[in-house]
Symmetry: C2
Subunit: 214 residues, 2 copies
Amino acid sequence: LRPRRTTTGPDMKTRKQSAGAGDRLSAHEIYLKAAEIFEAKGFDATSMDDLGRALEVTKAGLYYYIASKEDLLFGIMTYAMDWLDREVIIPARAEADPERRLRLIVCNHGRELLEGPRALAILSDELAALTPKHRRNILDRKRVYFDLVRDTLDELNAAGKLRAVNTTVATFSLFGTLMWLPRWYRPKGRLSPEQVLDEVAAIGLGGLLASTRA
Amino acid sequence: LRPRRTTTGPDMKTRKQSAGAGDRLSAHEIYLKAAEIFEAKGFDATSMDDLGRALEVTKAGLYYYIASKEDLLFGIMTYAMDWLDREVIIPARAEADPERRLRLIVCNHGRELLEGPRALAILSDELAALTPKHRRNILDRKRVYFDLVRDTLDELNAAGKLRAVNTTVATFSLFGTLMWLPRWYRPKGRLSPEQVLDEVAAIGLGGLLASTRA
């Protein structure tokens, strides 16, 4: 007995039962493998057949999991934003001290960018391939994150703890340093994730904080 | 009389005469328009027909200009690296003072990333689509640039002018801040390119230099 797909949204947690191939695929496995093939081939050039091969399910099995390629991409991005909410944004909001909050954001997000799946981190740029409604949803969530960081810098500024910098440019500069990590870092190279995180925190915060402690 | 294509390399400067459509396309126009369509559609999903439409030449005219899609991508990247040599690397090598050299690199490269064509800047990530030989060529040229920046930081360190930072991570952090610029900056927004450049130099160098003058 093979259950039919009953939802059209990106949440696959409710459809984890057996698919065409008789396998159980977790949402994490699906999103990760799909992100890898999208990243390697490009979203537009990836066919449903490519996805089926990567996930080792038949095409029918694939349609059991996903409604369309775009739906899958939105699912991946939603999954990544859910992670960001849980591991970065919520803990950061619970931290009252703005300097510690900034450091927590850099370290929690930076650690995932260094140690987590590279394809998931890089794919978050593929916004153009989303439907307008889905794109708006992801952009709104990214905006919440941007505002959290900029508000933290504004708070530091009000407390006289920031260099004379524009907090919008400063926020994007910090994001640039963070988002570049999966593009250059090689886990088997000479630098450990801890070393890189320490350096990124020192360099990133050192460029912003008025004190030289960072 | 239509000249036949006589070279197979990416240098189009020698084939600027009239093409199929009777138009004259400069290498700059070809690379820019091709970069835009590659960036919008993705390299793999872009067909020769798409390129012909974007460049407003017939398919036969297109083959007059380029040997293949990959050849064109390599041409675009070579063109971008030539620009970097001419406008950033050569002037930087002529600057003896390491602090001024670093500032020159950030400002000259940063200005192009803010004011130059966005697609050209972003496409430089598409290394995976190149043939191994072409990829090696571009990677070698990127490495020369990386080494120039890291050597400059090492020189500052030897002169006691650098914070206690790992110069490899510091170089990638600076590149991250720079390479993120075309991904967020909107020319018609509130911030002028000059404002952003000033801020990026202050933040980027402030995170690295031991003095607080930056």
